[in-house]
């Protein structure tokens, strides 16, 4: 039991820096996922057929490929091509593009969740198109989309650990735990604290999402 606390106090800086890297990876990837995901969702709801199909191909490809394979392609594959890609760009880029497929799906369903009748009704009541979007469509779409986006952030925290063990080897929480483990063979204690680090990020997020789901979701 004393060893448990000893490991934490001795290696606290490493654990903290690992946790901070994980948080930053998730934050950067989420920004990429939101930008790309919004773009893909826009492609899928606009009327031109072949553009819709491009969005569909993107979603089906990136959500069915393992993240590890994506990381190998974007790092080792692109390096072999002669492009000197940065570790952070490859790592966050892969995780971001991977999650973008799910973001696009969530946003698309959010837009469709607002019935077309509501838009027609609001237009016929004399709202302008901008007002309709701002006052009728977006508030409802936002409510539908918040819980799935929260879910995707939790999934991203878990997926970000893959970056640390792949070739890219950013020094995230799991990687730091392995580095400490290589110097001090106290695997149980070290992995216990790494688990606490991950759970600190994911468990509160889980409860937050559950709360938002109850609070926000419009029951139809």
């Amino acid at each position: 039991m004393t060893e448990l606390w000893g490991v934490l106090t001795r290696h606290l800086p490493q654990f903290a820096s690992g946790l901070w890297v994980t948080v930053r990876v998730v934050a950067f990837s989420f920004v990429i996922a939101m930008v790309v995901g919004t773009f893909i969702a826009a492609l899928r709801v606009q009327p031109v057929k072949w553009l819709q199909r491009i969005g569909g191909v993107y979603v089906e490809t990136f959500r069915n490929i393992p993240l590890l394979v994506l990381l190998i392609i974007s790092f080792a594959g692109v390096r072999r091509m002669g492009i000197d890609i940065n570790r952070w760009v490859a790592g966050c880029g892969s995780l971001g593009l991977y999650t973008a497929a799910y973001v696009a799906e969530a946003l698309r369903s959010g837009v469709f969740a607002v019935g077309k009748g509501q838009i027609d009704a609001s237009l016929s009541l004399g709202f302008t198109y901008g007002e309709t979007l701002r006052k009728i469509v977006l508030p409802q779409a936002f409510r539908t989309v918040i819980p799935p986006l929260g879910n995707l952030i939790i999934a991203m925290v878990k997926n970000s650990a893959v970056i640390g063990v792949s070739l890219i080897a950013l020094n995230d929480l799991l990687k730091e735990a392995r580095l400490i483990n290589a110097s001090t063979p106290k695997t149980n204690e070290i992995f216990f604290w790494a688990a606490v680090g991950f759970l600190l990020l994911t468990v509160p997020a889980t409860f937050a999402v559950r709360y938002l789901e109850r609070r926000f979701v419009i029951k139809r």
């Binding site: 069915n64 394979v69 969530a106 995707l152 878990k158 992995f191 991950f198 999402v209």
Partner: protein
């Protein structure tokens, strides 16, 4: 772009046994996914029943167990078991496994892989089952009790057949995640498709193993590997969408979303 589409870089696909080698390794992934899913369903059902137990402490403990394991990264669990599974257990496993079982299963780390995948996925499946069972109208359980059925009989005859039916689409969609996740066991040195791809990259066209053969660039090899996953999972996601729509039209209910799982998000979005 010219690098990507240069036919020289694709020659390895038709050369010798390269493609077959990768595909055979991919079958190991599928086997691992199916095995882990079978174990997860068994343990998941147990966990879900404990979670729904009337006994408060038992239900709380099962809930904490489920929440811990499904909120940890799978690769974290796999690495921990890889580094710290006691030798005695590993040796017992290697001795116990019958000879006619596939070659990958004779590695002692295969046990760590199966245990890790099962720990994570049984927690997820338990949560899916709980959502399925709780989506049933209260009246079902109450009617069974009013008819005088004891707890186990009402579970077996009334609750589970209906509740578990509702979880089938979510389970198929979890199988997609699981299939993708089997690629992670390459990190604990099990022969599966990512490892197979790396072997092809290292050996194709090398003067010692395959003299005069075409080189296999890592980009192209892993595009092929990724394509195998995409084809297989695309079929699965179509299936889960079909099942979800059928279930919704049949029962008219939307089962509760399971937090923190990307493919469940996609399933909900697909059908919406």
């Amino acid at each position: 772009m010219s690098y990507l589409f240069d036919p020289e870089n694709w020659k390895w696909v038709t050369h010798g046994n390269n493609l077959r080698f990768i595909f055979e390794h991919f079958l190991n992934n599928l086997m691992l996914a199916v095995l882990a899913m079978v174990f997860s369903l068994i343990f998941g059902l147990g966990l879900a029943l404990l979670r729904l137990s009337k006994n408060k402490p038992i239900s709380k403990i099962a809930g904490a167990w489920i929440d811990v394991w499904r909120n940890l990264p799978l690769i974290f669990i796999l690495l921990y078991l890889f580094l710290n599974l006691p030798d005695s257990i590993k040796r017992t496993y290697v001795d116990a496994i019958p000879n006619f079982f596939p070659e990958v299963m004779h590695e002692s780390f295969f046990l760590a892989a199966i245990m890790g995948l099962t720990l994570y996925n049984s927690a997820v499946i338990a949560e899916i089952m709980r959502a399925g069972i709780q989506s049933l109208e209260r009246g079902q359980g109450e009617a069974a009790a009013a008819l005088g059925l004891p707890y186990w009989k009402s579970m077996r005859l009334i609750i589970l057949p209906q509740g578990l039916r509702r979880m089938v689409p979510a389970t198929v969609s979890q199988l997609i995640t699981l299939t993708k996740d089997t690629s992670l066991v390459s990190i604990i040195s099990i022969q599966e498709v990512v490892n197979g791809g790396q072997i092809i990259v290292n050996t194709a066209g090398s003067p010692f193993v395959d003299p005069g053969g075409p080189k296999a660039p890592v980009l192209h090899v892993f595009i092929v590997v990724g394509a195998m996953f995409v084809v297989f999972n695309l079929a699965l996601s179509r299936l889960s969408r079909r099942l979800e729509i059928r279930e919704r039209t049949r029962t008219g209910v939307t089962t509760e979303r399971i937090t923190g799982l990307e493919d469940q998000v996609a399933l909900q979005a697909d059908v919406a």
